[in-house]
Symmetry: C2
Subunit: 478 residues, 2 copies
Amino acid sequence: MNEKQVKEITKRDIDFAKWYTDVVKKADLVDYSSVKGSMIIRPYGYAIWENMQRILDKKFKETGHENLQMPMFIPESLLQVEKDHVKGFAPEVAWVTYGGVNKLEERMCVRPTSETLFCDHFKKIISSYKDLPLLYNQWCTIVRWEKTTRPFLRSREILWQEGHTMHQSEEDALNETLRMLKIYEDFQKNILAIPVFTGKKTDKEKFAGAKATYAIEAMMYDGIALQNATSHYFGQNFSKVFNIKFLNKDNKLENPYQTSWGCTTRMIGALVMVHSDDRGLVLPPRIAPVKVVIIPIGNDEAVNKAINEITQDLKDSNVTYKIDNSDKTPGFKFAQAEVKGYPIRIEVGKRDLENGCVTIVRRDTLEKIKVLISDAIIKVNELLINIQNDMYEKALKRRNSMIYYPDTYEQMKDIAKNKPGFIYTNWCGNEECENKIKDELGLKSRCIPFENNEPTGNKKCICCKKDAKTKIYWAKQY
Amino acid sequence: MNEKQVKEITKRDIDFAKWYTDVVKKADLVDYSSVKGSMIIRPYGYAIWENMQRILDKKFKETGHENLQMPMFIPESLLQVEKDHVKGFAPEVAWVTYGGVNKLEERMCVRPTSETLFCDHFKKIISSYKDLPLLYNQWCTIVRWEKTTRPFLRSREILWQEGHTMHQSEEDALNETLRMLKIYEDFQKNILAIPVFTGKKTDKEKFAGAKATYAIEAMMYDGIALQNATSHYFGQNFSKVFNIKFLNKDNKLENPYQTSWGCTTRMIGALVMVHSDDRGLVLPPRIAPVKVVIIPIGNDEAVNKAINEITQDLKDSNVTYKIDNSDKTPGFKFAQAEVKGYPIRIEVGKRDLENGCVTIVRRDTLEKIKVLISDAIIKVNELLINIQNDMYEKALKRRNSMIYYPDTYEQMKDIAKNKPGFIYTNWCGNEECENKIKDELGLKSRCIPFENNEPTGNKKCICCKKDAKTKIYWAKQY
């Protein structure tokens, strides 16, 4: 890659889709493979996923969850046990029909999700309220046979985690559903610097087989929504059909109450689409695999000495860094550092060193700051906090500027046509209106937020004008 | 589970196979699933795998390797590129033939290993010696359609890591092959407390498509061999057929030199089969997810106070522990602690406390030690080191007592029939003898060790009596 190649990133405001694929490719997050519909997550992209895993896994374990590993195959008969579930997933699974040269007696799909496998196991290990709650999580790859795919956003193979839990009561299970949603929300906000709406999905949009689905809805730079994590409450739907029973405290047999919740590498796509710019990736410091890149200008004793001093301070402060010692020009290295989205770059050159200084450059604002070598580490630590906060505030401001509150269907139509973003309206709660809005305006319901969701204004549904039951967000979606 | 159930573990010396499945089931390492040939790795078993991953992943990263994620599917045409490779793997892969309701134009297998996928990627990203070495690793699940399966040892789905690297020269690639073998060897010895032989596999037993395979060979308690990790040198076999080329330092196009290396959850099976006993699992402290279990005898203020004191010390010493506060009897808890193989259990009861003492029990020897509460942490830390060392020494002694050195084929035949273990003999290097020994004696070649491998005695092959080229280990294998 040379400076010219960096400049070859398509402009974000000209062709967002092309800009996105340019960035994920040029920043070495992914590569295409010869396997149609599947991508390669390259080391730099995978390092972001490892950071996500590390942070979330710690949260899951702190809240009492244990990891395990289920089979990756589901026999057809097992997938079919819960009827809504099979209807939702059967059309998009990959079927294994042969083992070596032998045709299988019963075909198996590669798991699109693992509720059925977990229930099959729960049935064997749950017998008393003393066995509950069972709080399990699995990190694995799932497969959904998508027709059109895009790196991270829609792929046939998806790396994810799926939590599966069983509880004694509806209340316990609902608390778990919302507790995990909150963990996702905090992660998006505090680590990914992505502002989100959380709330309940409509019945039409809920998970196949769930009683209720709660989701994290983020807005991308282009105003299109991305569902970034979900948490489902199943009630006894699966435990009844799988005949899972426990002896409750009153010594009566009862079906336990279930949840599941998951998030995927799609969050990497969100990171790109919320924060990045025409120069490439911009990563929030708390998720960046490399927080600081040091670029020597010239190969000189003074330069090396200054770099040694700075790297020692970075090590002591536990700040991940890399030194770009390649044989490229400084100009190339600056450009590449920008494409890769390292939050901070430190330029160490002779001219600055004559004044005892180095130049620190923020990736998010491109602001250049000259500091004394001895002050560099203080400035770096301060900037890492500021960059994280400023990126969130910037994303929040942009998102909030792209939420619309029409009073009439005509206004809504006009916004849907001309203004990308979220639309917040009164809604009657009926699927007919939801379908009409989808068919006519291309908008899908996002979620009913937990707060400030009472109908306002004329209190009528934006679509049918009957009494509204709630407010709800609408948007185009990825 | 009750005390009786613990006693129901089949005696190891009566039926080793049944003992093994009893232990892995009763210690909650695995459960069977409704998916034929696939097992569930339960939280306690998965926690052992997470420890293995954490320790090995650190070593891989320290030696410059990066993780990434390749597709899990391989189109049939891609699998076929290297002819020895496809011949070795095609008979045992799972074929995906349908995506949803649509028959695929080209069927795909679930990866049985990923050399072809990596080469397909390497071709795109390697162009100069400056791109080399490329040091990649992947943690993932692979599938091999085994007919008969046993938990951890032989399963259709295998959790593993696979390293794939590319180098400028044969020397660099061979060094990498042996460097990674050494990492596995150290891991087996120092962490798993398993003594191993390392060496080269015969041509007959090498990996399909490799120039040379090196392996870690361990002996189980019953004298049967388990290959616990492998490291392969490919030379340019794949890089030629995949047409991967780089401009070398002399400005000439050349095919790079390749390695791959891997280890799997099979190592958990080895842990069980080397160390465990009639009471259940015995885990070396350095791999045990929980190092100390504390069992209160009676619910009493003095008991709780002593437990608080001990757990604070354990926390400060970074020793993982759990307190068994269930409503079972102490007798049950002792038995369960033994089934689970926690290296140390601390019994805290009123009678001991009257003398200011608690009782510490070593899982490996069942030795009971009374210590003052204030000395407990010192004793625990000392025991964790001693147990680790003693378990290795015990396994080493047993293994060495089961290695035989026959001079004639008749002696070898007699040993093969009557004495489980490894047999070390002179060998001519020809596959005919290797086949004869396999067919007549049921023994497979294990490896040619790196040292002390010169023919001894009459220096003739144990089988054909022609001049021997080397010494080699033989054994029955899992």
